[in-house]
Symmetry: C2
Subunit: 283 residues, 2 copies
């Protein structure tokens, strides 16, 4: 029934409308990168709430309040789809966002990653790493157990220092490796064969994580969200018109609530190319 | 002239009024701890902007906007003195705060620490460590050079990972030591004999810093700010009435903009005793 409503509304909308992507800060650019790679014909609006970042250690009430502000901003931009490019927000505020978005579809990070993990695991032992807020919410575990109570075991681990390490560019520093070994030791002992990277910063640590967990399949939440979006838009005949897929043809409007020190440097690491002239807004 | 104005206003105020202390989050509690130790007869109001923490990597414009909100909150509480218990705010927004505070005196972290360092150094080589915003502002160096252009050399180093390490309680972790050695190596090579701990989180790393820099005097900004406050209040006959100095007699009202995960645990580390029932406010 809900699906039917979405279908009707999407039919009324312009397929050239942009996809709205938001995050607490810069991390969501790793999600945007996957969308650009897999959905290169779309237009994008990216919003980073850089004046209030990070959300990961804040209370559920505060994260819900901030998520509401971000959603309302994107709705005013007439987006055809909202991507919640932040695991923390997806874990604790997805229902709030959906209720505000009405019939504009919303894709969070959790469900696509869970589907990806369930299709990938062979031994049924799935690990999840994320911020403290994401792990404390238990959303990944609940989501996996909803699909199948008995065939899967879930092992969760918060990794709060990964975000500052990535933002400082210390991806190969021995200190990062020491901390990563501490965080991932238990998951290794449990014998997981699949690991959900439940934070948009973590794909930048792929190489290090693979060194510590060499036989484990890593699930990139952004990639699976993009695959989910392709399917949703295609089924509703709402994919943007195909055109030359060169990067220079993309239209991406960047909005931020603050332009912090190192913004451009860090953004380039996540996105693979430079963010030019983000528009500064107040929320 | 300014001093004379402060004197007059302070004379009109009640000496039993509280001292207002604010910070971007929890770090300022290390400053409050020094105030309680050195000014045990005072009443305190502590405000932590925990919904928007950290300020340390944000732009000057945003830090000024947040500092204005915090100052206005404390002024409504009729404080007799405002302590800016955050080096980042002191470095980039002190003039904004003073202009809003009018004749209520404001003590930041910079000037007291600089005075302390100048009185301490023997060889004139002073190191400063802080967040990226504090170090980029160059405020410490400018402040020292204003006092004396030729007798002092200043060596600054940003230490952005110290805050997350402290908040995660990894004070003795080998990874923290590796990062600290990286950060402090140059300061050691320069032969500094005095180091300003230009961030309220850093006193919790005292032991580690002293291991790496064994012959260096550490300047705790909170301690020097408290000494400065004693002098200011005493000269204006505005010290709170002496009473039994037992901790249980203190009146400290805590206000926060969010109660994040681990708030009480981290607060206790900074303060040495538990924060009970902080009042949640919106700003």
């Amino acid at each position: 029934m809900t699906y039917f409503c979405i279908f009707n509304i999407l039919e009324l909308m312009d397929k050239s409308s942009p996809i709205g992507v938001f995050d607490s800060g810069i991390g969501g650019l790793s999600v945007l990168k996957q969308f650009i790679r897999l959905l290169p014909s779309e237009q994008y609006i990216y919003l980073g709430d850089t004046a209030r970042v990070p959300y990961g250690n804040k209370s559920n009430e505060t994260v819900n309040r901030y998520a509401k502000d971000c959603t309302e901003f994107l709705l005013k931009k007439d987006v055809k789809l909202i991507i919640v490019a932040c695991n923390t927000v997806s874990a604790v505020a997805l229902e709030t966002i959906k209720s505000i978005a009405g019939n504009i579809p919303v894709i969070g990070m959790i469900a696509p990653a869970v589907n990806g993990a369930l299709r990938t695991t062979v031994n049924g032992k799935i690990g999840v790493i994320g911020t403290r807020a994401t792990i404390n919410s238990n959303t990944y575990e609940k989501s996996i157990k909803t699909v199948n109570q008995s065939d899967f075991e879930v092992f969760s681990q918060e990794c709060p220092l990964f975000v500052p390490f990535v933002e400082e560019g210390l991806i190969n520093h021995p200190a990062t490796k020491l901390i990563a070994e501490d965080y991932l030791k238990k998951l290794k002992d449990y014998g997981i064969d699949t690991l959900i990277l439940g934070c948009t910063h973590y794909p930048l640590l792929n190489k290090l994580i693979m060194e510590i967990l060499p036989n484990v399949n890593l699930i990139d939440t952004g990639e699976h969200a993009a695959i989910n979006a392709i399917r949703l838009l295609a089924e509703n005949n709402m994919l943007g018109e195909e055109k030359n897929n060169m990067l220079s043809n993309h239209k991406i409007d960047f909005y931020v609530t603050d332009v912090p020190t190192l913004f451009f440097e860090i953004a380039k690491k996540f996105l693979g190319f430079s963010v030019e002239s983000p528009t500064l807004i107040k929320m």
